[in-house]
């Protein structure tokens, strides 16, 4: 940490040889002070840390002021050129200082950064470690959701990965989960991670099985219409049973209808795809009715033999009247087979 600080400082202050030593002295002094403060706050209580941060902030200001004054003293001697050069370096130093400050803050805790960001007032918070995380989560809810999500995922990740190994981390994750349970989005994930702690393999297998069944239920919902409103296994099974019964009854009804319509058990269907069938059907309907009427064959067999696809537009325009009903029905059925252009 110290080395990093020193290196950063040195990098930014290559040209200023004279002030480097003085700067280093300053930095070392500040670091010593910081170390003393950090060593004092062994509890990691937020109150002290807050004070440290404030102190550090003030230190930064003092540092800046000190360096500024130094530079001024030196810069005045060198003239305007130096002032030009000083500007960016000052910024660099500022950035450097901020970098150092952030770098110092990181090892302490990232949560503290959030604390600082969240609480702009100086709230004395005297809490222990675990409860502090709860409070933090609540603050995060108020302030920044992104970081909260990250923290939660981190804690959840911790809870998941360290499930079997470390009990302490799992306990903390438990408590964070308890504190975070108010959040609706991530609640489901947390609950799962928590329950999996007991007898892992069995619960995992059961969970996998349950997920399989639920997947299939969803698929069934897609196929069976009207299944979306009902939830729960019994209701969905009801719907499925209803649908299957419905379809089976439809088959019965339609087969009866076909039996009535086709006295000869000839379906008048060939190896045609359904679309073609339907298209053909519409064409037949659209085409002239007379053609079908006219060619009521007195000699059905001949017609059937001779007529292929041309049966739709028959050449015979002579009006032939069907003699009897039965004859007609038979011929009609036969004509159906031929008029639709199918051979059998």
């Amino acid at each position: 940490m110290l080395e990093g600080l020193v290196s950063q400082e040195s990098l930014s202050l290559n040209s200023m040889d004279m002030s480097v030593l003085e700067r280093l002295k300053w930095v070392q002094q500040q670091q010593q002070q910081l170390q003393q403060v950090v060593s004092q706050s062994s509890n990691n209580s937020p109150e002290l840390l807050h004070q440290i941060l404030q102190f550090h902030g003030s230190n930064n200001d003092e540092l800046l002021q000190g360096s500024f004054s130094q530079f001024q003293m030196i810069g005045s001697g060198f003239g305007p050129n130096y002032n030009m050069g000083y500007g960016p370096q000052h910024e660099a130093m500022d950035g450097c200082i901020s970098r150092t400050s952030s770098c110092q803050m990181e090892p302490v805790d990232t949560m503290e950064v959030l604390l600082k960001n969240g609480t702009k007032e100086d709230r004395p918070i005297s809490l222990k470690n675990k409860r502090k995380q709860e409070v933090k989560t609540r603050e995060e809810e108020n302030t920044e959701k992104k970081i909260k999500v990250e923290a939660d995922t981190e804690s959840s990740m911790k809870g998941k990965s360290n499930m079997r190994n470390r009990e302490a981390s799992s306990e903390t994750s438990k408590e964070t989960l308890k504190g975070v349970s108010e959040i609706p989005k991530l609640d489901y994930i947390h609950v799962r991670a928590r329950r999996g702690q007991a007898t892992d393999r069995h619960s995992l297998a059961e969970r996998a099985r349950r997920e399989k069944i639920s997947k299939k239920m969803k698929y069934l919902q897609d196929i069976v219409p009207g299944c979306n409103k009902v939830t729960g296994k019994a209701g969905m099974l009801d719907e499925i049973i209803n649908y299957v019964q419905c379809l089976q009854r439809q088959v019965e009804f339609l087969s009866m209808k076909l039996a009535v319509l086709n006295p000869d058990l000839e379906l008048a269907v060939e190896d045609v795809s359904v679309k073609q069938f339907q298209a053909y059907f519409t064409n037949v309907v659209g085409s002239s009715k007379h053609s079908i009427m006219v060619d009521v064959p007195l000699f059905p067999l001949d017609h059937q033999g001779s007529l292929d696809l041309s049966a739709i537009n028959p050449n015979q325009t002579t009006s032939i009247e069907a003699p009897s009903a039965s004859w007609e029905s038979q011929s009609q059925s036969l004509y159906n087979t031929s008029s639709l252009g199918f051979q059998y």
Binding site: L220, L265, A268
Partner: protein
């Protein structure tokens, strides 16, 4: 969905063949009921044959229809393969008997098993649902095809009737 259309095509093909075969083997002046039964039977066989695969319901349906068409040699051609596989299992079907289901889900699964052909043979609830799914798809295809054919026939029938 193209697969659904393919299912329907398969079904139509098989149905035509089965119906034709059934028609050849039976004398002509048939009762309406008889005709209806023949149509239904042929369509069931066709449906199962279209799904001639690893589903329990198709094999159960074929074996079930096989019992009805014992006399007709034509149907046997189609049924031969599937029937052998299910011979032993069908016997167990009758031995199961009745047992009352207590909870709602249990009752309904029993009912579903009775509806789906060959459902009683399936013990795993997981597989039962899978089978029902498949069965529903093919049943749906059957209904659609029959409906279009009936519509065509009715329309042509109406046209010829109108023009008397």
């Amino acid at each position: 969905m193209s697969t659904y259309n393919m299912v329907k095509q398969e079904f139509i093909k098989k149905w035509i063949t089965t119906l034709h075969m059934l028609d050849c083997s039976v004398e002509h002046p048939l009762n309406v009921t008889e005709r209806k039964n023949a149509i239904k039977l042929s369509s069931d066989i066709a449906m199962a044959a279209a799904r001639s695969g690893s589903t329990v319901w198709s094999r159960a349906l074929i074996s079930r229809s096989g019992n009805k068409t014992a006399n007709k040699p034509v149907a046997r051609r189609i049924l031969k393969k599937a029937r052998n596989r299910l011979k032993n299992r069908c016997l167990t079907l009758r031995r199961n008997g009745n047992f009352t289901a207590k909870s709602g889900v249990r009752k309904r699964t029993e009912l579903l098993k009775s509806l789906v052909p060959g459902g009683e043979l399936i013990k795993n609830k997981d597989y039962l649902i899978r089978e029902t799914l498949d069965y529903i798809v093919y049943l749906r295809a059957q209904v659609d095809v029959m409906r279009t054919v009936a519509a065509v026939d009715s329309v042509t029938g109406n046209l010829t009737n109108d023009n008397k």
